[in-house]
């Protein structure tokens, strides 16, 4: 829980800070980001199936699941950033955006395949 007074995490005067402080430095929740990456990978793999149900699944993974997971990542990451013991990792800051846009982009690609229709001439 954030202490609005906790400008100096080392002061020791803030009970809230001292309660919430984790002695181990924390970084971005890479595990959650991995889930998002995995979802995007599944989304890409669904192109190989090629059937409309697979394209619908790929579409919803990109437009719903990936944003949810990226949001989850962001929430946990912000919470950790407020803890005062946050250690950022290079490259991770832009990765969620890439994953999100990749997911939505692949969803659009799945939509393209869903819009291909075989009709009697």
């Amino acid at each position: 829980m954030t202490d609005n007074f906790a400008y100096d995490p080392g002061s020791g005067l803030s009970t809230a800070v001292s309660i919430d402080r984790d002695d181990v430095a924390v970084g971005p929740p890479i595990g959650i980001l991995s889930i998002a990456l995995g979802a995007v990978a599944v989304q890409a793999a669904l192109f190989l199936v090629g059937e409309p149900p697979a394209h619908w699944v790929g579409y919803f993974i990109g437009s719903v699941l990936v944003p949810v997971v990226v949001f989850w990542f962001r929430r946990v990451d912000l919470t950790r950033q407020r803890s005062g013991l946050y250690r950022s990792r290079s490259g991770v800051s832009w990765l969620p955006a890439v994953v999100l846009f990749l997911g939505v982009g692949l969803a659009v690609a799945h939509a393209f395949y869903l819009a291909i229709h075989k009709r009697l001439a």
């Binding site: 906790a6 009970t15 719903v64 291909i116 001439a121």
Partner: protein, 976 residues
């Protein structure tokens, strides 16, 4: 015509090191076959006795119990082979039983677990599960070959509870072919009692074994009993369908070949007399053991003999070049005439996976599929799961009805993602089962005419549905030898459309009314280029009906079929044409032809068409007498036109109808004949593939909106204030530029927090809330327009136009800004906006609400620590939001100074810790209210005071980079 080929079960089953491919590759007279193959060909049944070593050395040589997996696989493969035969309607009973030998020899299972010589079911799952008990059978101290065959003296009586292989083979079901599968990991060997061995052997009564010398002597006696005293000879005596005789398959586990000299000589000769009938399947290590055991039972198979396969590593393994066989592929080619195959695949490492790849490119992972699966080419796969590491797969595949769909090159590919598996060796074996092939007349109503050379068209069909074989890949190499009325005729090669055309001249004086066609069909298959061509046993061609022979009539003939339509019907082509030959070949065969009947073409559903017949450009109407006139010696082609008349073309279909003609002679009108011709026109719809761009746009917008909606929704429902343990205070204060003072009884005094100020009761329980009321201040969550922004907090106080909190205030100034956590929150609510006075502004009264620890000492420390920050923040906001004083009163009004003593910061500064009240000058506010060092003078709004600027900047750096420059709202904390 129908004939079943017994590819594996006759020629492949066990004990033979020669597969059916090798056996049949040579001409039949050169083929060799084992006694077991000959016996199975005669009896169509099998009894397999597994004689399994249970010596303690297995704990070292086979600590992973691979022998058990091998035995289970062997039984499963045997059951699967039986299933393959029975699926074709062939009876092939298989009986199995198990003996365990070590110190003694007993049945491995009691009657309840597995009956003596039990009938092996096609689904052998229950037995395979029970066979897991062999994992614990590895504790005997001896490896007693003598006891394994007969655990009592040569002329003695059987020992209770013990049974040797010879007696057990004798008890096998009558008339079945016997196979003894003998597994051992060691030589004939006895331990003395001091090492856990027996003091007396059941087949050597009265002889005490006391030490190593006695044990060695017993081994010598045992060797003599086996080889010199006739024990092994009994295994070789007589046939293998009765008595003690059996084909022997030895599976020897171990690298030291000298250890197995005796068991080798029992199997292949050198021990005892008579003709040996056995083979040895060595397994240098446990990885070979599984394969050796299953091959000992069901043979080497029909697939490539180079069955040690590499592993493909990397992502490119899924790409298959149909023209190239890699070293990690196990290839095999299937053609018409086959009905099913069994496949065994052993992966060399747990990280390796195996995939079955069909000729059309479909890939089925053997690791991921269990149970039954139908491939797109109609082949039904049944995969028996095995619990083994590395994985072992037994696949039974029943090929679909149409060989044109599945014929071609199949392969099993082994691949892994990790380079560490690259040097692992995999194994595979294939067992192919033959199906049905049939030669039949293409047009059963064809007739031959005297004085003419007729054409007989035969075609090759396969499977229960009699599918015509048309694809070159599906066509086996065939040799058709025919006789017509006993005379050999030239057949030529089969055509690409699966037919043979045989020309047959009929003499004018041909005496019979029909001809009879007999013959044989020889089929050659080649599973892989590395294997020899297998010439299968010939099929007799004996089901073709006799073909009628007639004289040339005295009327025109319409003997030939309607030619195939060159084009197909579709939505765009609603009419197609073909031809029908009409001729008057003889001098007296001129006449006329009448179209007597039309069965309009139609399909099985709702499609139908209309047929019209043209003689040149003139349409021939139904019933129009003698509409087609043909002079003697003339011949021409009628045009047959089929037009769509009803129904929507949506799928492939065939319109089938009939035309009936009557032909009448000019010379003798009493001479006439009927001709019925079948019409078959194909319907193939034309499809267009188009892209609905509107749908693309809608789905794209929906995807973006969905994503935004998800983010906003989660923000909305997840955004709450964090309330931690603590208390709050709500204290009237006065803020003079740079100085926050407490107001008490109308008097301003140094700011301090008294014990009685701390309100614990009014503080909500720790948790997360959408809004919280503390001391008249409503704290609530604050959402940003950015869906990615962090949730923040806002504070409002009823009736207050200026509210400042930890992070400043809003543009309007009536809402304080702070984070979403209330711990350490403070809110200053001004009673009225500060009034500007020259470069400064008037002191402002108001109330400050702070969330603090419940402990008063800690609370005061907290306040002392952060008071200057609070003062700066309030000061910055007040300076920015100071308003001009009201205009001076108009003439006639009295100018009243409303500033009261209470509102003037003249009260003495109190020491918050001591409560002392020193007397100090009332202004200016340059003294630390807590008794600290002097504070800078309140900032001059018109100029930047260097001291104050430095102080703020210094704190800014120490304040976790917070923006401390004024009341502006912090920009949304974007995530990226």
């Amino acid at each position: 015509m129908k004939r079943s080929m017994w590819l594996p079960l006759i020629a492949l089953l066990a004990g033979s090191t020669m597969s059916i491919g090798a056996a049949n590759a040579a001409a039949p007279e050169e083929a060799t076959s084992t006694p077991l193959e000959e016996c199975i060909a005669e009896h169509h049944s099998l009894s397999v006795l597994f004689l399994v070593d249970t010596s303690g050395s297995l704990r070292d040589t086979d600590s992973d119990n691979q022998r058990v997996t091998g035995l289970q696989l062997a039984v499963a493969a045997l059951a699967s082979q039986r299933g393959a035969e029975e699926s074709k309607g062939n009876q092939f009973p298989v009986y199995v039983d198990f003996l365990s030998f070590g110190e003694t020899t007993r049945r491995s299972f009691n009657e309840l677990d597995w009956p003596t010589w039990g009938d092996l079911p096609v689904d052998a799952t229950a037995l395979i599960d029970r066979m897991g008990a062999f994992k614990q059978a590895n504790k005997d101290s001896n490896t007693d070959y003598v006891s394994a065959l007969q655990p009592y003296p040569l002329n003695g009586q059987p020992v209770p509870d013990q049974v040797g292989a010879l007696d057990h083979l004798k008890a096998a079901p009558t008339g079945t072919c016997r196979l003894l599968v003998w597994f051992t990991d060691g030589q004939l060997d006895f331990d003395p009692p001091g090492k856990g061995g027996l003091a007396e052997l059941s087949w050597l009564p009265g002889v005490r074994i006391r030490n190593e010398n006695d044990a060695s002597r017993a081994a010598e006696l045992g060797r003599a009993r086996l080889c010199d005293e006739g024990l092994v000879d009994r295994l070789r005596a007589g046939g293998i369908d009765s008595g003690e005789g059996a084909q022997l398959a030895v599976v020897a586990l171990g690298e030291d070949a000298t250890k197995f000299d005796l068991i080798n000589s029992i199997a292949t000769g050198g021990c005892g007399g008579g003709t040996p009938r056995g083979a040895v399947y060595p397994a240098d290590n446990v990885n070979d053991l599984i394969f050796s055991l299953q091959q000992a039972v069901v043979g080497e198979g029909d697939g490539p003999k180079d069955d040690e396969l590499n592993t493909c590593v990397g992502s490119g393994c899924a790409n298959v070049d149909p023209a190239k066989v890699e070293t990690f592929d196990y290839p095999f080619t299937l053609t018409a005439g086959m009905s099913s195959f069994n496949l065994v695949a052993l992966e060399g490492d747990p990280g390796i996976s195996s995939v079955l790849i069909a000729p059309d490119g479909q890939q089925v992972s053997l690791d991921e599929v269990a149970g039954e699966q139908t491939m797109t080419n109609g082949t039904v796969l049944r995969i028996t799961p095995f619990t083994a590491s590395p994985a072992v797969h037994l696949l039974r595949a029943e090929l679909g009805d149409d060989p044109n769909q599945w014929a071609g090159q199949w392969r099993v590919r082994f691949s892994a993602s990790s380079p560490s598996a690259a040097n692992k060796i995999n194994r595979a074996a294939l067992y192919v089962f033959a199906g049905d092939l049939e030669v039949r007349l293409r047009n059963p109503e064809d007739v031959l005419r005297r004085k003419r050379t007729g054409t007989i068209v035969l075609e090759l069909v396969a499977g229960p549905s009699r599918k015509l074989i048309t694809r070159p890949e599906a066509m086996p190499t065939t040799e058709l030898s025919l006789t017509i009325d006993g005379e050999p005729v030239e057949t030529g090669d089969i055509h690409p459309d699966g037919s043979w055309e045989i020309s047959y001249p009929v003499a004018e004086d041909f005496p019979n009314d029909s001809v009879e066609i007999k013959g044989n069909l020889a089929v050659k298959v080649q599973i892989d280029p590395s294997l020899p061509v297998v010439v299968l046993e010939e099929w007799p061609v004996d089901g073709i009906p006799a073909i009628e022979v007639r004289d040339l009539p005295k009327y025109p003939l319409l003997d030939g079929p309607i030619s195939p339509f060159a084009e197909t019907l579709s939505q765009q082509r609603t009419s197609v044409r073909s031809t029908l030959k009409v001729e008057a070949p003889d001098l007296e065969s001129g006449g006329c032809v009448t179209l007597t009947g039309v069965d309009q073409p139609h399909d099985d559903a709702d499609l139908s068409g209309t047929v019209r017949v043209f003689d040149g450009t003139r349409e021939v109407k139904v019933g129009a007498e003698c509409a087609i006139s043909v002079a003697a010696g003339d011949a021409r082609e009628l045009t047959i036109e089929v037009s769509m008349s009803k129904g929507d073309i949506t799928t492939n279909a065939a319109l089938v109808g009939e035309l009936t003609f009557r032909s009448v002679s000019d010379v003798d009108p009493s001479e006439s004949g009927e001709f019925t011709k079948t019409i078959a026109a194909s319907v193939v719809p034309i499809f267009n593939t188009d892209i609905d761009w509107m749908q693309v746009i809608l789905l794209t917008v929906a995807a973006l909106l969905l994503a935004l909606l998800v983010l906003y929704g989660l923000n909305f429902f997840g955004a709450k204030l964090d309330v931690g343990p603590g208390a709050f205070v709500s204290i009237p204060v006065r803020y003079s530029p740079g100085l926050l003072q407490r107001r008490k009884d109308g008097t301003a005094m140094p700011f301090k927090v008294d014990d009685e100020d701390i309100d614990v009761v009014g503080m909500p329980m720790p948790g997360r809330y959408r809004s919280v009321d503390l001391g008249g201040v409503k704290f609530s969550r604050r959402l940003s327009w950015s869906p990615f922004a962090d949730v923040a907090g806002a504070a409002k106080a009823s009736g207050r136009s200026l509210v400042v909190a930890n992070d400043g205030t809003t543009t309007k100034g009536d809402t304080g800004l702070l984070s979403a956590s209330l711990t350490g929150a403070w809110v200053f609510q001004a009673d009225a906006p500060p009034q500007r006075e020259g470069d400064r502004y008037e002191p402002v009264d108001g109330t400050i609400t702070m969330v603090l620890p419940t402990d008063p000492t800690l609370a005061r420390s907290k306040v002392a620590e952060h008071l200057s920050t609070i003062q700066d923040r309030i000061g910055d906001v007040c300076a920015a939001r100071a308003v001009e004083p009201p205009p001076p009163p108009a003439a006639g009004q009295v100018d009243v100074d409303v500033t009261s003593a209470l509102d003037t910061p003249t009260a003495p500064f109190a020491d918050p810790l001591t409560g002392s009240v020193p007397i100090v000058p009332p202004a200016p506010h340059n003294v630390d209210p807590f008794g600290g060092p002097s504070l800078p003078t309140a900032p001059d709004l018109s100029s930047d005071d260097d001291g104050g600027k430095k102080r703020r900047l210094g704190r800014k750096r120490g304040n976790d980079q917070r923006d401390d420059t004024g009341p502006s709202i912090q920009p949304p904390d974007l995530p990226f």
